[in-house]
Amino acid sequence: MDILIGILLVFMAMGAIIALETTDLLSAVVSLGAMGAFSSIIFLFVGAPDIAITQMVAEILSLVILIRATISRDLTTLEEDRDFFGLVATLTIIFVLLLLGIEALRLLPPFGTPIFTENPLSASNRYLNLGLKETGTASIINAISLDYRGYDTLGETAVLFTAILGALAILRVYAKKKR
């Protein structure tokens, strides 16, 4: 199981390197899509099918939009040199995050044990024990996101609505009244 996830991670890294180093934009977008597909398979193997569905579908949608944006604008190759200061800043940030990540990974409990269940009054204990009885749904994820914490879902819907309203307000073709 770990070997399988390791092989898929190696493929993901290969896809990312190909996306960076090729000069044809269409190949870069397609290898980004391959990276997203492998990530979705990894999610399936560690036991999160919800995230796997959402990752796969959002990946396909953003790929299609990116392909449509790159092909139809006559911009199929990219010929710029890389900036030196940007390279140094990127490497520094990645190195610092790697150090912090190794330290944080050392302190985590083993994979599969819940973190906050030592306290019997915690929220996650209540959701796990009384979830089916109070909300009546079998899927605890949807019960939390729409019954216990429904206000956050309302905020998310409001953010989507505001973004689309903003895009429509800027891109109106018939903005002025005809005289």
Partner: protein
């Protein structure tokens, strides 16, 4: 289905093989998206993933058949109305709970008809929320794609101008 092969739709979109395959496949994609939305309280998925699947189905039809056929089926104004309907239904059901129990987001249908039997008609308000979210996400994402695909900025005399690329595609130089 006879209107699919008129002259002006024949020259838009992709080849005949792609059109025939998509013609048979678009119903199943739509049905799969609706299944994930409706069974959101039992299996994984729910409103967001199902809405994205339905929007992807519509985008596939637009890529295969061209702009004119797809905008005839679901235009920009109708998509915006469906989106507003979904968002208003979500907010309306949440506000209706104030009259029943005094708090903003309570699951009032679950308290009226309690059920934990994992059937399709169970869990109170949650399937209705999923349907509202699925409708609004599907219509919203399709509308984003229409905006990206139909409207372009064209530079004429040094100033930017927004055109819809149906009539003026051949005359202006698109940057």
């Amino acid at each position: 289905m006879k209107d699919l092969f008129t002259e002006d739709i024949k020259e838009q979109g992709m080849t005949l093989i792609v059109k025939t395959v998509v013609q048979g496949l678009k119903g199943f994609i739509f049905l799969y998206g609706v299944y994930i939305v409706l069974y959101g309280h039992l299996t994984e998925g729910g409103g967001f993933a199902g809405g994205v699947i339905i929007a992807s189905g519509f985008i596939l039809v637009m890529l295969a058949f061209g702009r004119k056929y797809t905008l005839g089926k679901l235009g920009k104004l109708m998509a915006f109305k469906l989106y507003c309907l979904g968002a208003l239904a979500f907010l309306g059901m949440a506000s209706l709970a104030v009259f029943f129990h005094g708090r903003f987001f309570t699951n009032f249908l679950e308290k009226l008809w309690p059920s934990g039997n994992m059937a399709l008609f169970s869990a109170g308000n949650i399937p209705l929320y999923q349907i509202a979210i699925g409708l609004s996400v599907a219509a919203g994402l399709f509308m984003v794609f229409i905006i990206l695909a139909v409207i372009r900025v064209v530079f004429e005399n040094g100033k930017g101008k927004l055109i819809t690329t149906e009539k003026e595609d051949k005359k202006s130089r698109i940057r």
